[in-house]
């Protein structure tokens, strides 16, 4: 029951920057439509919807009823009543309702009832600290209102040492996060013995965020939690909450590995909301080039902030956050003596910096915030009027969750999705029916990812010895324990595997990544030696190469030295008018085939691949004009990756018959790869960067890249140029692969849906309005190709047809 905030936005008194007339999200939508009718490809209005209620359950203890009355609640929303009944029946439950629909009452009522009746304990897990503190505040208010005598505490990294003992012994409700459970609670479970013995409920909120790698970690954490509970003879009941996704029941049961009752029908009222899909205007009709999404997001955000509307811009990358922040600051923060009206928020900032931005947003001091998905979770930043998405976040569900950030009870809110030139974005704004009608995507996790399992079996062995054939979830942990024994961290004695090392494994395992190899960014300006940021291992090669401009709160730093093995980047403050963008190449080699099938005249296969990614150099791109003003070399070790993939191949004979030249076949494959990657990304709820595409020979001998204009070029294994006609063996292959070591379970379901993907990719290409190919279907093409006898679009279509089964 997060109470929607009814406060009106504070209007900045700086009259020069602000329209005289106060407007709301609906009025801004009208204004944008009047001014730029040709840029809005669709508009969706969500009308206010009235609430559906149910009476307070008769078996709800009288004291809780009184507490609810005191807080002005005399009836429940229908979904709250349904949750009460299901939990009372002893079922594990997932509640799937929109933001601000009162989902916390779904778990608070049973938790409070049992805490009062039998002193049953409950553990609440929220993905962030800020959210946990909000929940405790709310629970305490209800507790006070009814004098319920239930003791609830947050337990996180900020909890002082002397308070921890009291919380362990006396907390009826302990509110924490997965990281604390992982690093502080489970490894010290003996101190929590009384708590675990009486643990009745485990509440996990925001489970839609626990997908991909993080989800796999949390699923393993649940395995560890169940293992510890079993040691203390407890079998807790799970209550999960999720934002709207396509498969809440399936996802919830994958996460906790038991059957879950899903409650999906919200009875909460909905406020008025407007959504615009926005395509930047065409600026070069010959090439089909559009203005950048960035320019449009910047313009919309500027209009919104000037109109006095609290505005949030989501950008897809950290660099884009900094660029957009700079542009908005150039307009709104040109006077350095005044407090900043525009702030940036992204991963890689130090926690203190992020907390300070959150505080200023909540206090209403900030008018515009530019953020990455780091802000997507329930981080409380107060009420907002306008959300601008600079680029499609990669899934329908994530789009609605981000739009859900805007919304006030009293006035209409606005969400604008600005399409980038990314094909996925173009696909979406040009097929708005897809956006309006498509069910939200499915969340997937692969908890048995080998590396993640190894990490958690290591932590589990520390918590309790493995004895005999004890499984870990459904996994037989023996090979993992053997490896740990070989490394000297566990010791096998008869039937038992005992922890033996003098180390605390949970500290070395981060739930937020496959493995912890973060780089720190050290500022050396004027003799300082200060850590100013952290960068994930996977992002380091693309953002911290020597010469890179690394921006923090739109202040540019230049990377002077990268200590790759020491995981450090040394930077200094700089004054430049450009930013940098890495140029990278990918090469694949098939290692093992798990499954294969005939696909049209070719084959579709699924298996394990070796991926080598090389950052070859970088481009310098000038601000505002975005012209390319230079290149720099990068000399970094290749990024290697063993992962799972699916791929399609056509034999040389088929290709020779169907295509006039090898170059034509190659262009066809590159175009087909773009289309297949596009529909595959839509099909699974993947962040686009979690699933990657590549075209190559399949044995690593050569790989193909599109040059800037879409013409395929061959490269030999060492990255040098090669000619298709000179190859003895020419068997191009299109790959879709998981972009994580060991895979994260995307390519296997895609292989199962391979025929559907081909069908959809063909529909996409055939149905596209362009003549020769465009970023929305097969990627950008040369102007010259528009007139050629056989267009790249036809080539891609031919490849897809040859592969199609029918």
């Amino acid at each position: 029951m997060r109470m929607a905030n009814g406060l009106a936005a504070s209007v900045p008194d700086d009259g020069a920057d602000t329209d005289r007339r106060r407007i709301d999200g609906a009025a801004l939508a009208q204004r944008l439509l009047r001014k730029y009718p040709e840029r809005v490809t669709a508009q969706v209005a969500i009308h206010a919807r009235a609430a559906r209620h149910a009476p307070l359950p008769p078996d709800l203890p009288a004291a809780i009823q009184r507490a609810l009355h005191a807080r002005g609640i005399f009836q429940l929303y229908s979904h709250q009543a349904e949750a009460w009944q299901a939990v009372r029946r002893g079922e594990d439950v997932v509640v799937v309702t929109p933001t601000a629909s009162g989902k916390s009452l779904c778990y608070l009522l049973p938790v409070l009832a049992d805490a009062m009746a039998t002193r049953a304990k409950s553990l609440f897990l929220f993905p962030t600290k800020a959210l946990a503190q909000d929940q405790v505040a709310e629970l305490l208010e209800l507790n006070r209102a009814g004098d319920l005598g239930v003791r609830a505490y947050t337990f996180d990294g900020d909890t002082p040492g002397d308070a921890r003992q009291a919380i362990r012994l006396h907390g009826d409700v302990v509110v924490s996060n997965p990281d604390m459970l992982h690093q502080a609670i489970l490894p010290h479970h003996t101190k929590w013995a009384q708590f675990f013995e009486q643990l009745k409920y485990v509440v996990i909120d925001e489970v839609h965020t626990y997908r991909g790698v993080f989800g796999a970690h949390v699923a393993n954490l649940v395995r560890r939690l169940r293992r510890i509970c079993a040691f203390y003879g407890a079998r807790p009941q799970f209550i999960l909450c999720s934002a709207t996704i396509g498969n809440p029941a399936e996802h919830a049961s994958a996460l906790i590995e038991s059957t879950v009752h899903a409650i999906t029908d919200s009875g909460a009222p909905v406020g008025e909301k407007h959504v615009l899909l926005w395509n930047p205007p065409v600026i070069n009709p010959d090439l089909g080039l559009r203005a950048s999404a960035r320019s449009q997001s910047n313009r919309i955000a500027r209009l919104a902030i000037k109109a006095g509307l609290k505005t949030l811009v989501f950008a897809q990358s950290r660099t884009m956050v900094e660029v957009l922040t700079k542009y908005l600051k150039d307009v709104f923060d040109h006077d350095p003596r005044k407090p900043a009206r525009v702030r940036a928020y992204r991963g890689g900032y130090l926690p203190s910096e992020r907390r300070s931005v959150e505080r200023e947003m909540r206090a209403g001091h900030v008018d515009g915030i530019v953020a990455t998905h780091a802000l997507e979770l329930g981080v409380d930043i107060g009420a907002l009027d306008v959300v601008v998405l600079n680029g499609y976040p990669g899934s329908i569900a994530a789009t609605w969750q981000r739009f859900g950030r805007a919304g006030r009870r009293q006035q209409a809110s606005l969400g604008v999705l600005v399409a980038s030139s990314d094909p996925l974005d173009q696909y979406l704004v040009r097929h708005p029916e897809f956006f309006q009608d498509a069910p939200p995507e499915h969340a997937r996790i692969a908890p048995d990812q080998a590396l993640i399992l190894l990490d958690h079996i290591r932590c589990a062995a520390f918590e309790l010895p493995f004895v005999g054939s004890e499984p870990f979830g459904p996994i037989a942990p023996a090979p993992y324990l053997e490896l740990l024994a070989e490394a000297g961290v566990v010791h096998r004695e008869g039937e038992r595997w005992e922890w033996i090392a003098d180390s605390y494994p949970a500290n070395a395992v981060s739930l937020r990544s496959v493995a912890d190899g973060n780089f720190v960014v050290v500022d050396r300006s004027e003799g300082r030696q200060q850590i100013i940021a952290e960068v994930d291992y996977s992002a380091a090669a693309l953002t911290l190469y020597e010469g890179a401009i690394h921006m923090i709160q739109s202040t540019p730093y230049q990377v002077e030295r990268l200590d790759w093995s020491g995981r450090k980047a040394f930077v200094t403050r700089t004054q430049v008018d450009y930013y940098t963008d890495a140029i990278d190449y990918t090469r694949l080699k098939v290692l093992a085939q798990f499954d294969g099938a005939v696909s049209g005249l070719g084959h579709a296969r699924h298996g394990e691949v070796h991926v080598v990614r090389r950052v070859a150099g970088y481009k310098k791109i000038r601000y505002y004009t975005h012209e390319n003003i230079g290149y720099g070399p990068v000399n970094l070790p290749d990024q290697e990756l063993h992962t799972s993939a699916l791929w399609w191949q056509l034999t040389q004979a088929v290709l020779d018959e169907a295509f006039a030249s090898r170059q034509a076949a190659l262009d066809g494959f590159l175009g087909a790869a773009v289309a297949l990657h596009l529909v595959a990304t839509v099909a699974v709820m993947a962040d686009a960067r979690d699933l990657q595409k590549a075209v190559g020979s399949g044995d690593g001998a050569w790989f193909a890249t599109s040059d800037t204009r879409g013409r395929g070029s061959l490269r030999a294994a060492d990255g040098s140029g090669a000619a298709a006609d000179a190859l003895a063996q020419f068997m191009p292959t299109v790959f879709l692969y998981d972009a994580y070591p060991g895979g994260i379970g995307l390519s296997e379901p895609l292989y199962q849906r391979r025929d559907e993907l081909l069908l959809r990719a063909r529909e996409l290409v055939v149905g596209c309005d362009c003549t020769a190919g465009c970023p929305a279907c097969i990627g950008p093409v040369l102007a010259a190709d528009e007139a050629s006898a056989v267009t790249p679009k036809q080539l891609a279509q031919r490849v897809l047809s040859l592969l199609a089964t029918r």
């Binding site: 101190k191 520390f462 993992y480 070989e486 038992r496 003098d502 493995a515 912890d516 990024q639």
Partner: protein, 274 residues
Amino acid sequence: MNASIEQLRRLRAQAGVATLPGATPPAAAASPSMLRSLLQRHRRIDGGPPDRDRALPGVEVAEGLRCLETRLDWLPAPTAIATGFDRHHADSAPIAAQRMLAFDTETTGLAGGSGTRAFMIGAADWHGGGLRIRQLLITTMAAEAAMLDRFAQWCGEHDVLVSYNGKCYDAPLLAARYRLARRANPLAGLMHLDLLHPARRRWRGIYENCRLATIERQVLGVLREDDLPGSEAPAAWLAYLRGGSAANLRRVCTHNATDLSSLMALLLRLAAAA
């Protein structure tokens, strides 16, 4: 999912993690069953032939559990000990010396949490006119429960615990071990004199630090010969557990016994000065 060790190691390296300490890559990737036989071979090579020096003091009182007992006559018991030096027990009446039970553990490390265990528990008390030092040492992990049971028998319900930093370290660690072994914690509820804090109050700034070894040298004039630093105790036990030499583990026994006698001597010194 079948994951071979070789695969796992490779994936970790790709994810940016340094290779596991002590891990050497096996000759070839293999199925788990091949791998297992490979590892067996590996282990024999790693461990080398069993060491010939495996002698440990004391007697085996249960499988994998040894008990060492020595008597020191140079430290006679006073009749009663005043506890005024301890802020928590400043007002207690003097306590009969026979109720004092000094204890000290040797553990597999300092990391804390349920993965750290004691492989030795030593205790000292005045018994039969002299100071009795008894030490329990496990030579298998399975013997831990027997060690905990034996130590519980040594703790009387009126005993007063004496330790050096035991309130923060040894006592919570043993509490966790009793909990994991599903046994009642014999230390729970006992009066506990932790000498670290009074020692700090008294000698902080006078000596370079307030570690027990420093205080005993400066205050009690005890000089340890061939002492194994406490930090090397985990490695000494682990080496023995894996079939290595017992030489360092014997030095751990001596080290622990000296800690206990110094603890009692320090108790008398503090009590006398109070």
